[in-house]
């Protein structure tokens, strides 16, 4: 019997889990309908702060303080809290692939529901240089054979400090022609803000770590040259059966 086709996002999640698992990262997850505490407050995004405007949020009617999560970052807190509850101290390494939501008009490059992969590494000596090393290895293994370069630019996300934007570039003869030598914005990242660690019950005097959040749809678009992000939820076999 012929074999059916795996959705490209599932394929990416599977591959990312394989790569990160080899680096010691555990797959973690959390609810899609999330409290404002986990989605915002505990991540150092106070109410009525302009930083909340950075993400257009879906609120659930008649359920005060409930939102469709705008990022996978709430799981940083949920995971660390759960570990602490079980008496497990850092080091922690987790990835969180999953669906997130933004209340935006949709077009070829914007979807109201899409996928992210969050990464979190916390320990006594986890550095920003480790973030770069981890992402370099991830991209190298994902774009097999191509030479991958990454670079950081300053940015701001309330839950990290310092905060950076990460660009990636594929170079060399093995890079897909359409992507070769082009810097592409891949994700927001940084060193976990001490108040986020504190909110999760982790001692920020003793531990530090990095976090990143990358759009998987965007990664899929780049990797396979997909021309419309809305295809991801089209359930159209003319799309899915190409993977």
């Amino acid at each position: 019997m012929p074999r059916g086709h795996l959705h490209p996002i599932s394929s990416l999640i599977r591959e990312a889990n394989q790569i990160f698992s080899r680096m010691g990262f555990t797959f973690a997850e959390g609810p899609l309908v999330e409290t404002e505490w986990y989605n915002f407050d505990a991540l150092n995004v106070p109410k009525d702060h302009p930083a909340r405007d950075m993400q257009d949020t879906f609120f659930i009617k008649d359920e005060p303080n409930m939102v469709l999560r705008t990022h996978t970052s709430p799981v940083q807190l949920r995971y660390m809290e759960a570990q602490k509850k079980m008496g497990v101290e850092p080091p922690y390494r987790v990835i969180v692939p999953g669906k997130v939501f933004r209340n935006e008009a949709t077009d070829m490059t914007h979807e109201a529901e899409f996928f992210q992969i969050e990464g979190l590494a916390v320990g006594e000596d986890v550095t920003l240089a480790n973030l770069k090393g981890t992402l370099d290895r991830f991209f190298r293994e994902l774009f097999k054979g191509a030479n991958v370069e990454t670079r950081f630019r300053p940015s701001y996300f309330p839950f990290v400090e310092p905060g950076v934007e990460v660009d990636m570039r594929l170079v060399g003869p093995n890079a897909p022609e359409k992507l070769r030598d082009r810097w592409i914005e891949m994700m927001g990242a940084g060193m976990v803000h001490p108040s986020v660690l504190k909110n999760a019950g982790v001692d920020p005097e003793k531990y530090q770590g990095f976090a990143f959040g990358m759009g998987l749809d965007r990664l899929a678009l780049l990797r396979w040259g997909i021309d419309d992000v809305r295809l991801m939820h089209s359930a159209d076999l003319r799309f899915v059966n190409q993977f």
Partner: protein
Amino acid sequence: MKISREWLQTYFEQPLPDAHSLGEVLTFHAFEIEGIENGILDVKVTPNRGHDCLCHRGIAKELSAILTVPMKFDPLRDPVSLETTDTVSIQIQEPALCSRYIAGHIRGVKVGPSPEWLKDFLESIGQRSINNVVDATNYVMFNLGQPLHAFDAGELSERDGKYAIAVRKAKAGERMVALDGKEYTLSDSMLLIVDGHTDMSIGIAGVKGGAPAAINEETENIVIESANFDGVSVRRTAQALKLRTDASSRFEQVLSPELAAYGMKMVTDMIVQLAGGEIVGFADDYEQIQQKQNVAVSLAKINRVLGTKLHESDVEDAFARLQFAYAKEGDVFNVFVPFERLDLAASEDLVEEVARIIGYDKVPSIEMSAFPKKPEVNANFYSAEVAREELLSKDYSEVFTSVFAEKGDRIVANKIDGMAPYLRSTLLDGLKSAYDRNVRTKELLGLKYVRIFEIGAVWQKGNETMMLGIADETGIREEPLKISYGSSEYQELPTSSATRYQPFSRYPFIVRDIAMWVPKNTESFTEVVRIFGDHSQGLLRHVDLFDQFQKDERVSYAFHLVFQSFDRTLTDIEVNAIMKNITDAVAAKGFEVR
């Protein structure tokens, strides 16, 4: 925010690099640049730097540090003194929402057009020139970041030679006509500026001035406002009135009350210069004086967070370029934070300052050492992967449909497009519609049947459940995903080997059948398929051999031919012509078309 290179140049003796070079260094050391046009940079100031960088002085300061070019002068460094007058009194009824209010009284101005240089500066960043007094307030706001407002004192009441300004909450339902000519209905959470003698409202605090005391050609006496309003309060007011202004977008970022004095000094000097008159004096109500802030960071901490091997001299250099004064004790830098840098509160903030000024390219790439524990297996993901694999092996393909639905138990309150606002309580509706759509196009893909599945969340009552839904020729069904616990390892499963996605046509397709007798050899099959391609004008999307049988030395083939264009809807007439050409060509080969 729009930043003019020429305007920035007023802060420097030596010529600045061109706008693109400025954009480049800002990108790697400060802020993303959203566009550059005619010497104007659109700088995306991050919300942590709205305190000090929504103005030319802030960006000039950044450039001075990044490029190691000294500023001619920094208007925020020398203390300013404002001569007191008793011709204006101030009464702040809500000190929690207004930490400082300075009124500056100028007599005998002559309102008129602004000089060309001022008009040019304002117009270059998308502002409209109004008159010399109003332009001066706008110029200083875009220069220093302090919103300012000018009132026509002639419209204020005077008692015993004194004007009175009061800051109070609006009454519920109170109305005010603002400078834009529109009438706004206020709520009792909003803050107003009023004439303290008559209680006439003259402005919505931090958002917009009122029409009653607007500057006009006849204005001779003015009262300038340079104040500090609470960020949350201004933000809520502007949101509620749908009146986001250059002033409100600065106050909502939270400004230092110290800045108000610098703004006042600069704007009153400028008005006297442009419109004449004399400064009578200032009234300054400032009870809760901003505390001076010190933040400490050690060299060891900086290197521990960044993973670098920086030296003390690197940190000293970064702080010198930022003009941060500090006291050093061992390897600890105790930084005296400039009043406008409200973002600097913890040692991590200083780590970031050092990192971005020296450049993130100095951060090496270092892999972490091996993790001491084996990664745990997530039971839900493990189980989803098992279900996927089983269905894939039976020729089912995986789809995702939207979580938004026309019905359900929970509903989104603020969906921007207003469509399908419910969270789905079942996968069945989405899968049914996906199944039907795919059945309609299955011939394009040469599919004999459509078999799809989805693993996704549904919301029933208060619960979020992971569901497995399946649609195939026997019907549509769903059940909660079966979770198997206790696995110690994921199976190593295959990932997609696709290299490049090929866009498909969105236009309707037409299917035609053709059957023929051909001699029994492999060449004739290849020949026939080649003929189809050669005579289809590039419109043949799919060839499906759906029947074949042998009789004596001949084989009968029957094909579905699927035609579709990438740029139009095909007509029967077009496809008939193609089919005629194909039929003729097949016959010309000596094959018998049935």
